[in-house]
Symmetry: C2
Subunit: 653 residues, 2 copies
C-alpha cells in the first residue's frame, strides 16, 4: 500500500461513529478499536472480489463480534461492494437498510454469517474452515485454496461455545483459520477483570493453537503477526492489543464507547483527534480511491482461478455443489421401492441410517457427524471415513461432546457451501445447541439435525434425557422444519424433504424404539404435505386421530378399538406442522374436518395441539417431566395405550 | 481405615455391575473405574452424616458424570443412608425405584443435584461453592465451613459450559471446590483422541486452577492428591488416571463398558478377577460394617456443629435461610403503597430494579447478578457490593459473558440453600442457558431469571437479539413459572410470586421500553391468578382482549377504539399462563368467556394462544423473525397498533 493505513482506518472510524451517532444506537467502540487491524487485513491479506462477492474460492471473513457491525459495513462500502451504499449506511439500524444492528448474511453480500449472539461467529468460522479443507481434499488446490478470518471480542472468547470451537479446530488442526482477537480488556459491565482472570493464550495453546500477539494500532506489528499466522500450520489466535473506541479522546479505553453513540461533542473531539475534517458520511476522494484499489487487489487471482475452473474436469460438479443444487434424479431413488417390497420394523433412528446409506451413496456433498453418540444416533454409514487432520476428504466428523459447537460448525459448513452437513445428538440436547439451531433458521442454512431418542420411549435414562417440551419448542422457531416420522417410509420421505429444503434447516426427531412400517405401498412423498390421512375410517367417521412419530402406531390401535365398537376413526399422521400449516385451506379442512372429535396423540407437552384439535378435542400428551423406567412401563404409566385412550374418546362422544 | 480400601471399592463395583446387569441398562464402566477414588473420598475425606443428610454444614458431593449413577447409589447405601435400600438398588432404572437412570435430587437424600446433562453438575458445584463461601462470610466458620467435591468425566470437561464454570471458579478462587476428573480416555464413540487433543491440565492452569494428578487405582497416590487439593487455596482439578470398567477383565479400558450391561459372562469373569464370591446384591457383612463405620466418621463433628449452632446468635436467621423460608411480613411491603401513590412510567426492567431495591433491603439472602448486562438488565441495586475473591460477603456477581454458567451456578446456589439467586440476560439468550433452566425446573430449584429486552421492542439490535418464539418455548417447560408483567405494579407482584415459589424457578420477561402504570389502586396480588380482568367492558361486551407485558397497553388502546364504536371490550392481562391454567374452571370461564370474540395480543409467535382464544378467535403476534429498526417502527411494521388491529376485530364481529 502506498497510502498511510491510518488514514484508511480513520475512514472506518469516521463512518462508524457517524452512523452510530445518526442512529443514536449502536456500538462504535469495537470498529474504532479494530479499524487498524481490519484495514491491514482487508487491504493486504484478505482474498476477495467486491465485483463478485460469491467467488467460490474467496477467503471467508466473519465478524464474530457482530455488535461492531459498522466495521464490516464500512469495509464493504470502502472496498467497492455494490452494497452497502453510503445511503444504506446513513440508514444504519433503520427499517429497510441492509445495515442492520448486527450483520445479517441475508441482507448483504460479503457478510458471510449472521453474527451477534456471542461465540457463534467464531464457531461458524470453524465450520467454514472444515468445509474449505474438505473441498480442497476433494477438488484440489486449483479450485479450493482459501482462508477463514475472524474478528472476535472478549465476549466471543468467554462464551462456553468458544471452548468447543477451539477444541474442534485444534483437534482438526485447521491451519487456514486465523482469528484476530480484539483484546481491549473491556466488556459491557466494565473491565474484563471484573469477571475473568483467564490466561487466554495459555488456553488456546493447550488446545493446539498457535498464538501470536501484536500491537493493535501498530501496523508493522499487525503485519508481522498476520504473516506469522499465515505461515503457521496450526489455527492461529492473533492477540491484538487494542484500545476500544480508539480516537475518541475522552471515552476511548472505557465501556462507555461499547454500546452507545459517542455523543455529538465526543464525535467532534474525535474528528479533531483523528484530523478528520470531512462532514459526516463524507469520504475524501483520495482515501476512497486507495480503498477501491485495495478492493481490486485480488481481481487478477480471481481471473486466474476462473481460467482454472473453466479448464477443470471437476467444473460442473464443483459448481453444482457450490450452488447447492442436488444431482438430477435424486427423488427417484430405488430405496422407496425397496422399502415397499421389504417392510422394515426398525426404530426411526435406524430407518434414518438406512435412508442415509442410500443418500450418502448418491450425494457426495453430505458430511455427517454426531456429538459423541454415533452408535445411538445412527448417523454413520458404512462407507463414511472420518474427516481427520490427516485426511480431510473424510465425510464423517466425530464432533465430541460438543453439541453447540457441532451445530454452529454445521452452520458454517452450510454457509460456506459445497457441502450439506448433518449431525446428531439426543433430542433433549437440542437445548444445548438451540442458539445455533435458531441461527440456522435465521440464516437460511441447509443443516439437517438428526435428533434421536425423541420421547419417554428412550426409557431408563430418565427425565434428564427424555424430551417432553422439545418438539413444540422447536416448532416455534420460524423457518425450521421439524419432522417426526412414524416409520421407515416417512423417515425416508422426511430426509428427502430436508435435503431439498435449500431455504433453511430441518430437524428429524427419531425414536430409540422399534416401530412397524405403516406405509406399505409406493406413493408420492406424502410427508410433503405435513400431514395426511394414513387410514380412513371404516365405519361412519366420528373421530379423527392425529398423531406423530411413534404415536401413530398407537393411533392405529386406538382406531382399531374404536372401529371395533362401530365408531369410525381416521388416522392422520402429521410429521411436520409447518408444512401442514402451509397447505391450502381445503386440504387442511379435508384432513382435519369440523364436526368430528379430533384427538391428538403425542408423547410430549400438549400446549399447541389446540391448533389442530380445537378446544373441544382431546389432547393426549405429557405435561410433566418423564421418569426412569423401561419404555413400555412409561407408556403404560403415562397413559399412552389404547386401553387408556379409548375410554376418554368414548366419554367425549 | 483399617480395612483394605480395595475390598470396600469392590463392593461398589459389584453393586454397580449387578444392578446394571439386572436392569440390562445403565453405565457400569464409570462406577467401576472411579470406585477406588470414590472410596477414599467417602471413607476418609468427605464430611457428611447419613443419619442427617440435610446437615447444613455437610460437604456437598456432585456426581457430574451422572450416567455413572450406580456409584452414588452404592455409596449412599454402603455408608448407611436410609435410602437407597438394597431393594431400591435391585429396582435400579425401574418405575418406582429412587435409583433412577441418572441421579435425581428429588428422589434421594444425599443426591445434591440432578445430573446427567453433561457439564452441568460441575457448573452447579461452582454455585454451591460460591454459596458456601458467601454464607461463611456472613455466618462465620462456626456455622459454615465445608467443601464441594465433584466427580467429572471427559464429557463434562468437553462441554462448552465447562469453560464458563472453570473461568468463574478460577476468577473467584473457590479453593473449597475440588474436582476429581475420571481421566479414562474413553467416550461413547471410542477413545477421546477421536475428537479431542486438548491439554486439559494446561487449560485449567490457564484459568487459575491448581491441578494435581494421581493414579486412580493407587490409594496412596489418591490420598496424596486429595491432601494437596485440600491444602491448595485455588480450586483443584484432581486428574485421576483410571481405567474405565476396572475389574472387568475383557472389557475394561474400552467404550464397551460405558453404556451397557457387561453381560453375564463378563460379570462372572469380573467376579473372579475381583475375587468377589458373593451372590448378586449380596454384600459381605464385614465390608458393610467397615463402610458403615466410615459413614459414621463425621458424626462427632456434626455433634460439635450442632452445639455451636445452638449457641449461636445467628441460629434463627441461619436456619430460616437454610430452610428457605422468607421472613415474616414480606408480603406487606410498603412498596406497593408507594407505587399506588407514585405511578411509574418506566420499562418493566426498571420496575424490576425498583422492586429489587425494596426486596434486597428486607431479604438478605438474595444474590443478584448478570451475564455482562448489568446496566441493561437492571439487576444491581444500590447497596449491593460485588461478590469477589477478596470479599465473598458481596451480594452481586459479575458473571461475565457466561449465560449458561450463570444459570447452572444459580441452580447450585439454590440447591445449596441459604441464598436465593437471581440473574439476568436478554430474553433471547435464554436459549444459551435453556438446559440449565430446564434443570432448575426439574430439580425444583428456586432461581429467578431476570430476562429483559423481551420482544421486538428492543429495537435496533435486530432479529438476533429479538425474542420471538422464546416466551412460549419457555412456557412449555414443566414447573417453570414464566411471568410477563405489564407495568410496575405487576412487576412487583410477579417478583413477590417468584420469591414465594419455593417449589421451582421463575422467569421474568421484561421490556426495554417504557410502559405506563396501568394499575393505580392498591389491591391484592392480582398476578397470583395468572390472568385477571384489568378493565371490564363499558358497552355491551363483544370482545375480550387478552394481552401480556408491553402489549397490555396496546390492548387498552384497542379497547378504547372499540368502545368508541360502541363495542364493549374487556381487557385481560395474563402475566402467567401456568398460574391461570391452575385456576378453577369457573374463574377461567369468567375471565375468558365463551360466546364473545377472544383476541390475543403478544409480540411473539401465536402458536399456543389457541388455548385461550379458541379457533375462532384472533391471534395478533409475530410468526417470523424480527428486524433491525427503532421499536416504534417495528411495532408499526408488524401490525402492533390499534389502527392495524381494530379493523381485524371489526371484520370478525
Amino acid at each position: 500500500m502506498s497510502a498511510d493505513p491510518r488514514l484508511l482506518a480513520n475512514a472506518i472510524r469516521a463512518l462508524s461513529m457517524d452512523a452510530v451517532q445518526a442512529a443514536n444506537s449502536g456500538h462504535p467502540g469495537m470498529p474504532m478499536g479494530m479499524a487498524d487491524a481490519a484495514t491491514i487485513l482487508f487491504t493486504e491479506y484478505l482474498k476477495y472480489d467486491p465485483q463478485d462477492p460469491d467467488w467460490h474460492d474467496r477467503d471467508r471473513f466473519v465478524l464474530s463480534a457482530g455488535h461492531g457491525s459498522m466495521l464490516i459495513y464500512s469495509l464493504l462500502h470502502l472496498t467497492g461492494y455494490a452494497r452497502p451504499t453510503i445511503e444504506d449506511i446513513k440508514g444504519f439500524r433503520q427499517l429497510g437498510s441492509p445495515c442492520a444492528g448486527h450483520p445479517e448474511n441475508f441482507m448483504l453480500k460479503g457478510v458471510e454469517a449472521t453474527t451477534g449472539p456471542l461465540g457463534q461467529g467464531f464457531a461458524m468460522a470453524v465450520g467454514m474452515a472444515i468445509a474449505e479443507r474438505h473441498l480442497n481434499a476433494v477438488f484440489g488446490d486449483d479450485l479450493v485454496d482459501h482462508r477463514t478470518w475472524v474478528i472476535s471480542g472478549d465476549g466471543d472468547l468467554m462464551e462456553g461455545i468458544n471452548h468447543e470451537a477451539v477444541g474442534l479446530a485444534g483437534h482438526l488442526q485447521l491451519g487456514r483459520l486465523n482469528v484476530l482477537w480484539d483484546n481491549n480488556k473491556i466488556t459491557i459491565d466494565g473491565a474484563t477483570d471484573l469477571s475473568t482472570s483467564e490466561d487466554i493464550p495459555g488456553r488456546y495453546r493447550a488446545s493446539g493453537w498457535h498464538v501470536v500477539a501484536c500491537g493493535g494500532h501498530d501496523f508493522d506489528s499487525i503485519r508481522r503477526a498476520l504473516d506469522e499466522a499465515v505461515a503457521d500450520p496450526r489455527p492461529s489466535l492473533i492477540d491484538c492489543r487494542t484500545i476500544i473506541g480508539w480516537g475518541a479522546p475522552n471515552k476511548q479505553g472505557t465501556s462507555a464507547t461499547h454500546g452507545s453513540a459517542l455523543g455529538a461533542e465526543e464525535v467532534a473531539a474525535a474528528r479533531k483527534q483523528l484530523v478528520w475534517d470531512s462532514e459526516p458520511f463524507d469520504l475524501p476522494e483520495p482515501i476512497v480511491a486507495e480503498w477501491r484499489k485495495a478492493g481490486a487487489r485480488s481481481a487478477r487471482l480471481h481471473e486466474k482461478w476462473r481460467a482454472r475452473l473453466a479448464a477443470s474436469a471437476h467444473r460442473e460438479e464443483f459448481v453444482r455443489r457450490m450452488e447447492g443444487r442436488l444431482p438430477d434424479g435424486m427423488a427417484k431413488s430405488d430405496y422407496f421401492d425397496w422399502l415397499a417390497a421389504n417392510p422394515q420394523k426398525v426404530a426411526t433412528r435406524k430407518a434414518s441410517e438406512l435412508a442415509l446409506e442410500a443418500i450418502n451413496t448418491v450425494l457426495p456433498e453430505t458430511i455427517g457427524g454426531s456429538a459423541d453418540l454415533t452408535g445411538s444416533n445412527n448417523t454413520k454409514t458404512k462407507a463414511q471415513k472420518p474427516l481427520t487432520k490427516e485426511d480431510y476428504s473424510g465425510r464423517y466428523i466425530y464432533y465430541g461432546i460438543r453439541e453447540f459447537g457441532m451445530a454452529a460448525a454445521m452452520n458454517g459448513m452450510a454457509l460456506h457451501g459445497g457441502v450439506i452437513p448433518y449431525g446428531g445428538t439426543f433430542l433433549v440436547f437440542s437445548d444445548y445447541c438451540r442458539p445455533a439451531i435458531r441461527l440456522s433458521a435465521l440464516q437460511g442454512a441447509r443443516v439437517v439435525y438428526v435428533m434421536s431418542h425423541d420421547s419417554i420411549g428412550l426409557g431408563e435414562d430418565g427425565p434428564t434425557h427424555q424430551p417432553v417440551e422439545h418438539l413444540t419448542s422447536l416448532r416455534l422457531i420460524p423457518n425450521l422444519a421439524v419432522f417426526r416420522p412414524a416409520d421407515a417410509v416417512e423417515t425416508a420421505e422426511c430426509w428427502a424433504l430436508a435435503l431439498e429444503r435449500r431455504e433453511g434447516p430441518s430437524l428429524l426427531a427419531l425414536t430409540r424404539q422399534n416401530l412397524p412400517q405403516l406405509r406399505l405401498e409406493r406413493t408420492e412423498n406424502l410427508c410433503a404435505r405435513g400431514a395426511y390421512r394414513l387410514r380412513g375410517a371404516g365405519a361412519a367417521r366420528r373421530v379423527v386421530l392425529v398423531a406423530t412419530g411413534s404415536e401413530v402406531e398407537l393411533a392405529m390401535k386406538v382406531a382399531d378399538a374404536l372401529e371395533g365398537q362401530g365408531m369410525g376413526a381416521d388416522v392422520v399422521s402429521m410429521p411436520c406442522w409447518s408444512l401442514f400449516d402451509a397447505q391450502e385451506p381445503a386440504y387442511r379442512a379435508d384432513i382435519l374436518p369440523d364436526g368430528v372429535l379430533r384427538v391428538s396423540i403425542e408423547a410430549g407437552t400438549t400446549l399447541g395441539w389446540e391448533r389442530y384439535t380445537g378446544p373441544d378435542g382431546i389432547r393426549i400428551g405429557l405435561d410433566r417431566f418423564g421418569a426412569s423406567a423401561p419404555a413400555e412401563d412409561l407408556f403404560q404409566r403415562f397413559g399412552f395405550t389404547a386401553e387408556a385412550i379409548v375410554p376418554q374418546i368414548l366419554a367425549a362422544l
